[in-house]
């Protein structure tokens, strides 16, 4: 690369990093605004207690643990194509986990008491477990990346990769269980929730990885080998189909239990924005379209189809989380089964949620933080996944 080209790439990098920094700063500013005025300036209330920041944060955390799978497949199952991508996957995991945590913490009513959260851990709380699972994930991801980047540590990378794989399963189980253990609310009390979160993390993490990889290849004027791309696409499709299966099981079992039918009626049919996001956002845009882009003869060879499918999966993920988290809260608690309840505290009434600008900016700020960390990380460390195509072909690894 000649000097001028290098110079221009350098400028572009600083522009990107500055853009990410700006979005992050706006997010933090929004959080400070919320902190100063209290949550009165948000759309959240005593009915919808968790809102948009939680949708963003949970997406980031779940996708963070999922993206590490790309690395695990390489180290644990010895697949060369994935091994090359271990470091980038590790960085993405690190960045999204950190960003997700920042969003959750900045949304706290008393974000200034972060030290209290760190020093008082109640071990019967699923949140409490997560206080241990998250730092553990950082540590393991860090050690794992170290084993991948340092030649002398390389022999340990398989063990570290295995540890990371196990830990990430625990982490997503923990995230899913935040909801799964809430017996009070009809939307969440299902044993399927924790495994559903694991499989969602596989799909979302892989989708994020595909988008980031594509962006890096475009940046460097490279192209992914078609055989490798096809392999990734098929794996992504498998994950998306598995998410579809779990969501179907979740709703079908709910419909089967008589006491849950009113809730299902609400979330799938009458609930306004929630059924719209479920059918239009998650099912059509986030599941069926990506599958069509991956498998349909006319579409699958279209340039950029894999990236488009990945982006749609991410859009679908946000819709799904919105329906799950906020839809679950909007439906009233059934405190007195068999009776119609009414009060000045909105008992028995379906609630509506209109997110305010600050909470949206906080969520987007989280994406900005992850973006900035990845841009800087990729620039400073050499994480571009480069396949030794000749070698792979010789080994027969690219045969379909």
């Amino acid at each position: 690369m000649d000097y001028a080209a290098k110079r221009s790439a350098e400028t572009k990098f600083y522009l990107l990093a500055a853009l990410g920094g700006l979005v992050s700063a706006i997010g933090v500013g929004a959080a400070l605004y919320m902190e100063h005025h209290g949550h009165a300036v948000t759309g959240m209330n005593n009915q919808i207690v968790w809102g948009l920041p939680h949708v963003f944060a949970i997406f980031l955390v779940v996708a963070a643990s999922g993206v590490l799978n790309v690395a695990s497949i390489g180290s644990v199952f010895g697949k060369t194509v994935y091994k090359t991508r271990g470091q980038l996957a590790g960085l993405l995991c690190f960045a999204m986990l950190a960003a997700g945590l920042v969003v959750i913490l900045l949304d706290l009513g008393r974000a200034d008491r972060i030290m209290v959260a760190a020093t008082h851990v109640n071990l019967t709380s699923v949140f409490g477990w997560n206080m241990i699972l998250y730092p553990g994930m950082f540590a393991i991801a860090f050690v794992y990346m170290w084993t991948l980047m340092e030649k002398r540590m390389y022999p340990y990378s398989k063990a570290a990769g295995f540890a990371a794989f196990i830990w990430r399963l625990m982490l997503t189980t923990g995230t899913g269980s935040i909801f799964g253990f809430i017996a009070a609310r009809q939307a969440y009390q299902s044993a399927v929730v924790a495994p559903m979160f694991i499989i969602m993390s596989f799909a979302w993490g892989m989708a994020v990885f595909m988008v980031v990889q594509k962006a890096m290849y475009l940046w460097n004027g490279m192209a992914l080998h078609p055989a490798i791309r096809n392999r990734f696409k098929r794996l992504l499709a498998t994950f998306v189909a598995a998410v579809f299966y779990f969501v179907a099981v979740y709703h079908l079992t709910n419909i089967y239990y008589a006491k849950q039918t009113a809730f299902e009626q609400f979330i799938l049919l009458d609930g306004g924005i929630f059924p719209q996001l479920f059918w239009g956002g998650w099912l059509v845009a986030g599941t069926l379209l990506p599958l069509a882009l991956i498998f349909l003869p006319g579409l699958k060879d279209m340039p950029g189809s894999a990236t488009l499918a990945s982006l749609l999966i991410i859009v679908g993920a946000f819709c799904q989380l919105y329906v799950f988290i906020i839809g679950g809260e909007a439906f009233p608690l059934e405190i007195f089964p068999g009776m119609t309840a009414g009060s000045s505290f909105f008992d028995g009434r379906i609630d509506h949620y209109s997110p305010s600008l600050p909470e949206l900016l906080l969520g987007i700020g989280g994406i900005g933080i992850a973006f900035t960390m990845v841009v800087v990380g990729v620039h400073v460390l050499k994480f571009l996944p480069e396949d030794d195509v000749a070698k792979l072909e010789a080994a027969g690894a690219l045969a379909d």
């Binding site: 902190e35 005025h37 209290g38 949550h39 009165a40 209330n45 005593n46 009915q47 207690v49 968790w50 706290l108 009513g109 008393r110 974000a111 008491r113 972060i114 209290v116 959260a117 008082h120 851990v121 109640n122 019967t124 709380s125 699923v126 949140f127 409490g128 997560n130 206080m131 935040i178 253990f181 809430i182 017996a183 009070a184 609310r185 809260e329 608690l333 405190i335 007195f336 068999g338 009776m339 119609t340 309840a341 009414g342 009060s343 000045s344 505290f345 909105f346 008992d347 609630d351």
Partner: protein, 244 residues
């Protein structure tokens, strides 16, 4: 430490020796100095389990004397615009039975469960149960995550959405923390009833020690059929209802 300070310390030591000496000393705030020598008020004891029985057959639709008394006692005056963001420690719920159409009304608040989900889920241990069964929020360690609000089956907890200035001295509450009915713990510790119990014009609320078989509440619970709300969750609530 300087000499005058030592003198003062000696004086305090002497003062501590007996309240009688103090009574003669002029210009001294006796109460503060002698408080340490007063017999300790009884601390919350594990032998006691505070509870309440609500007779819904006496509770009139439209009457909210208990709610007003609660808000007066606990200083709940809020000006947040969105009513859904206002705190409600105690609220009246109007119920209509599906099918029969029977109507009644009852007060709903923290049920002071023996197995409180809010305490289980609280990441910092700020949600806690006192030895005598009262479930409280320690606002010194509450980080405002609202997980307890997600977990409470009774919607008994509120989040303070705006900075406050109108607290009563005995009832601290503030922005960014979660709160709920305390059974008026500041009154109970001084041997009084919760404010709602004293305010009810129909005497529909009975408060007392569930563990003391001679207490009015224990006697009544032995006599009449009572229910726990969401008994299916097996939370062993401290608040019981009659006539639901």
């Amino acid at each position: 430490m300087t000499a005058p300070d030592n003198k003062r310390r000696n004086f305090l030591a002497a003062a501590g020796a007996g309240a009688a000496t103090l009574a003669i000393a002029p210009g001294i705030n006796l109460i503060r100095v002698s408080a340490a020598d007063e017999p300790q008020t009884k601390l919350a004891s594990g032998k006691v389990r505070w509870g309440m029985l609500v007779d819904t057959t006496k509770c009139a639709t439209g009457c909210d004397a208990c709610v007003s008394a609660c808000h007066q006692e606990n200083g709940i005056v809020e000006e947040v615009e969105d009513p859904r963001q206002r705190s409600q420690w105690l609220r009246k719920i109007d119920l209509v039975e599906q099918g029969t159409g029977r109507q009644h009304s009852l007060p709903m608040m923290c049920q002071h469960c023996a197995e409180p989900p809010c305490v289980d889920v609280c990441p910092t241990g700020a949600s806690f149960k006192r030895a005598d069964g009262i479930v409280l929020v320690d606002r010194h360690t509450c980080i405002g995550c609202r997980y307890c609000m997600m977990a409470c089956p009774y919607k008994a907890r509120s989040f303070v959405h705006e900075p406050l200035t109108t607290q009563n001295p005995e009832v601290p509450r503030g922005v960014g923390c979660v709160e709920g009915c305390t059974f008026c713990v500041q009154r109970i510790d001084r041997g009084k009833n919760p404010a709602c119990v004293d305010a009810c014009p129909e005497a529909a609320l009975v408060f007392g020690d569930l563990n003391d078989e001679n207490s009015a509440i224990a006697k009544k619970l032995k006599e009449v059929a009572s229910t726990q709300v969401r008994a299916d969750l097996k939370l062993d609530t401290g608040v019981r209802y009659q006539g639901i």
